[in-house]
């Protein structure tokens, strides 16, 4: 882009120079000197422009604009139906939270752990209990980033954004939501629910499952007696510092 523009400017320079030379032959020398000066100045300006070649090179940075495409974006949207390598989403349990159209009832722990292992960003180690604890940690982090603004950190539905006038979501601590299958939560995050926006673009499938594990832990933390909790949830509870 830039180089082209500089080249065009230089070509323009040459053209103007020859016009000036013709004029010079016909006119007195003061004009000639002035126009010489102008040419030198203009040439100088051309090269000052070109010095930026290295600072603004002819490749596009992420989200840069381009006047080549109609909507002004250099980045092209994916052609519908594109499947990136390793992203074939045929596992409906994991990617839709459904089996044959019905919401999944049991938490797909092994699939979630497997997906986290593939994404190097998050290291998992140890047996099922350790893995679950790590997923819960991740879930808490993601919940606080994406959900707490409305649902509050405790899940009671009184987050900051709600206090500023957003419709109030239901508390997680109702019998209905405690009885909803995990697949329902996955569906809510992926497709939204009523006035709640969807989070499919912002949260990866594995992270959505991590959030669900944490939402379940939150629900338990406000409902169960400590005695009934499995050791794992008791541990999560202690880390949270919550009371039964």
């Amino acid at each position: 882009m830039f180089r082209d523009r500089c080249r065009a400017r230089r070509r323009h320079e040459l053209l103007t120079r020859s016009v000036h030379e013709e004029l010079d032959r016909a006119r007195p020398s003061l004009t000639r000197r002035v126009s010489m000066g102008m040419t030198v100045l203009a040439l100088f300006a051309t090269f000052v422009g070109c010095w930026q070649d290295m600072a603004d090179q002819p490749h596009f940075e992420p989200l840069e604009t381009s006047d080549f495409f109609a909507n002004g974006q250099a980045a092209r949207p994916l052609v519908p139906g594109t499947v990136a390598r390793g992203q074939l989403r045929i596992d409906t349990v994991f990617f839709e939270g459904k089996v044959r159209g019905k919401a999944v009832e049991t938490y797909p722990l092994h699939k979630v752990a497997e997906h986290f292992r593939v994404a190097e960003q998050f290291r998992l180690s140890g047996g099922d209990e350790r893995v679950m604890a790590q997923i819960l940690d991740r879930g808490r982090e993601r919940f606080d980033i994406f959900c707490a603004a409305c649902h509050d950190r405790t899940g009671n539905g009184q987050g900051m954004v709600v206090q500023r006038g957003f419709p109030r979501p239901p508390s997680y601590h109702s019998d209905r939501l405690r009885d909803e299958p995990v697949g329902h939560f996955y569906d809510v995050i992926t497709h939204g629910f009523g006035r709640m926006p969807d989070y499919a673009d912002q949260i990866s499938p594995a992270d959505r499952w991590a959030i669900i594990a944490y939402v379940r832990a939150l629900q338990l933390s406000q409902h169960a007696h400590v005695g009934e909790l499995p050791a794992l949830d008791r541990e999560a509870l202690q880390r949270k510092g919550g009371t039964p």
Partner: protein, 215 residues
């Protein structure tokens, strides 16, 4: 032959030779001042934006985490700027009549993205990567300042090579706990013993070879 210059010109000549040193010095220091001025470095300068988006309101008052909007900052070189859909998560219900948000609603309707003006922009011959800094415990606030106090975004630092190197030479002065990387504020002092522990734990090296950033 008559003298061309009056004898008093001797003084003028002496003064002007002496003064030339000062004039030269003044010109040089003026130049140095100019290259360090906000006019050139853009430090503290706010830009015209399509929507007056306020980090002070969204981060400081509402308490949103950076990653709600800058979703790729942990895993990629590029922090990411939120698409219109992200704004509409809340503003589909909040301030739906506000004139300030008209460009956001137009953008959602037409599919034409909002054109934010870049505030930080390194020359293309410099390679920069957010994720490594985040993973090595360098907080956003160390480079971008306290954005929760910024009604409009500005540059807190020059982004000069000198500035990058000041930290790359002595990362122990800037490192912090990984878990506090996204906190909007930070107490700028860290206990030197803790800092050197963190440098060891995160295996931070002092990277100053040219090819770190010019590749």
């Amino acid at each position: 032959m008559a003298q061309i210059f009056h004898p008093s010109m001797n003084t003028v000549a002496r003064v002007s030779i002496f003064g030339a040193v000062f004039i030269a010095a003044a010109v040089v220091s003026l130049l140095l001042l100019v290259v360090r001025s906000p006019y050139v470095t853009e430090v503290g300068v706010v830009r015209e934006q399509p929507v007056p988006f306020s980090h002070k309101h969204h981060v400081g008052d509402v308490g949103l985490d950076c990653r709600y909007c800058h979703t790729s900052v942990e895993n990629s070189s590029f922090a990411g700027i939120p698409p219109t859909k992200t704004c509409m998560n809340c503003h589909s219900q909040l301030f739906t009549k506000s004139a300030m948000l008209q460009p956001v609603r137009d953008s959602l309707r037409t599919g034409e993205p909002l054109k934010w003006t870049r505030v930080h922009d390194l020359p293309d011959f410099v390679y920069f990567d957010h994720s490594i800094h985040i993973h090595k415990g360098i907080a956003c606030v160390k480079c971008h300042g306290e954005v929760n106090e910024m009604p409009l975004m500005w540059r807190e630092h020059t982004l000069h090579m000198q500035w990058c190197l000041a930290c790359h030479r002595r990362p122990e002065l800037f490192v912090g706990d990984r878990n506090d990387v996204f906190a909007a504020t930070s107490d700028s002092t860290i206990d030197p013993r803790l800092a050197s522990d963190l440098v060891a734990e995160y295996q931070i090296e002092s990277k100053t070879s040219c090819s770190t950033c010019h590749r």
